[in-house]
Symmetry: D2
Subunit: 130 residues, 4 copies
């Protein structure tokens, strides 16, 4: 399964004194991508949290190929290659306005009960989607 | 009443492509200052939140006199000039490693019940301090 | 003069443990608004920086009326009430998806030569616009 | 080679509505650790940038074992296991105030000429250290 996000614009506050987007922001961009996808799948993140599930990131990696700059327009392709279990893994590719691949990465999120903070299986309502 | 914070160092991630600290970070610095002060006064913010009070900022202003740069060491003088009511106002002055005044500002925080999110009077345990 | 921004969505990473948008983010939202406006006026911020001018914020204030929450959709009305001199002042109003006024504020930016970091008058190309 | 940072305190602004430190902040913590180490080695990052070298992150990964919370005190062990070439790799372990390992990760940074943005070999002055 795969989703292509709407276009996102690099904000001034996301740059650092090297003149490029600070690398920590890409994890926020990946988060935007999976949340936008879940919303398109009628499974908004708010609804997940309301059913007492939280989805902290337990693992991530990023490969930076080209920098993003202030004002750049980019979109993200986000994939889910494996059936979710007690975790769900998303893979990402960021492309700039010239359709150049700038960034690749992945994040693994765990399904936790928001009260006990104990791991649980992926809720059926979500596993049915992926 | 007045408190002088410990020394804080400007982080790389706090800079922007102008080569200075992005102005939004100063609100985080002011927050550090009041939280450190409350902790010194044996009133840690965690304890306030545990007693079902939250303290959102309802008003703030900042005057930027000199920029802070990556690696700069600064401290903050924080004041409370008025007795808290249903709000509490803090005033701040930031000084760099050359004891130059770089920034002045103030923030007003409201005492809200964390469940109803309704305003309430400053708890006696806090008003007794200030 | 006045401009209404496109719709912006609150990101998960912009929330804090109070469950609301951290107040420091509103300065980033104001920045988005003035940059989007300048771009619509054919005066993109990149072009200003390329002509060796930087525009640091020298003063700001914010009044928080209602909180913004994760997923909220908002837009910003941004105004320029006075002719720019060596500084330019923008005034902002943020409205949420229910057209409720959530936030008011203003920022004053100084025109500085990016090499000498000395103040200068507003370039004619910009003062002609406002 | 190995370095243990001074103690760092989790800031309120680093939390998200899950009540934990937002995962993007760990890349800022890793950056703090390597910058503090380089400074202790008499190779401050400012000096590197002044010699027309920039060090963007080209690859990173993080494994989140336990969450960090507002007010937590943590330190970071940072390692350099391999001789730098045109890149330098740092490995990190974050420990909280109970000496529990909360986070592991690594970042690879490239040596680039700050004007041409072309890769270059690690300057001798740095490779001699590691």
């Amino acid at each position: 399964m795969k989703y292509k996000t709407s276009t996102i614009k690099v904000r001034y506050s996301e740059t650092d004194q090297m003149g490029i987007v600070h690398h920590s922001n890409y994890l926020k961009f990946f988060e935007l991508a999976r949340i936008e996808w879940l919303e398109k799948l009628k499974m908004p993140y708010q609804k997940i949290e309301e059913s007492n599930i939280v989805l902290p990131v337990v693992r991530c990696d990023i490969k930076f190929i080209k920098s993003l700059f202030f004002g750049d327009l980019f979109y993200i392709n986000v994939f889910c290659k494996k059936k979710p279990t007690s975790t769900i893994e998303f893979t990402y590719q960021i492309f700039n306005q010239n359709d150049e691949l700038t960034t690749e990465g992945s994040t693994t999120l765990a399904f936790l009960n928001s009260k006990s903070m104990k791991p649980q299986r992926c809720p059926k309502i979500i596993s049915d989607i992926f």
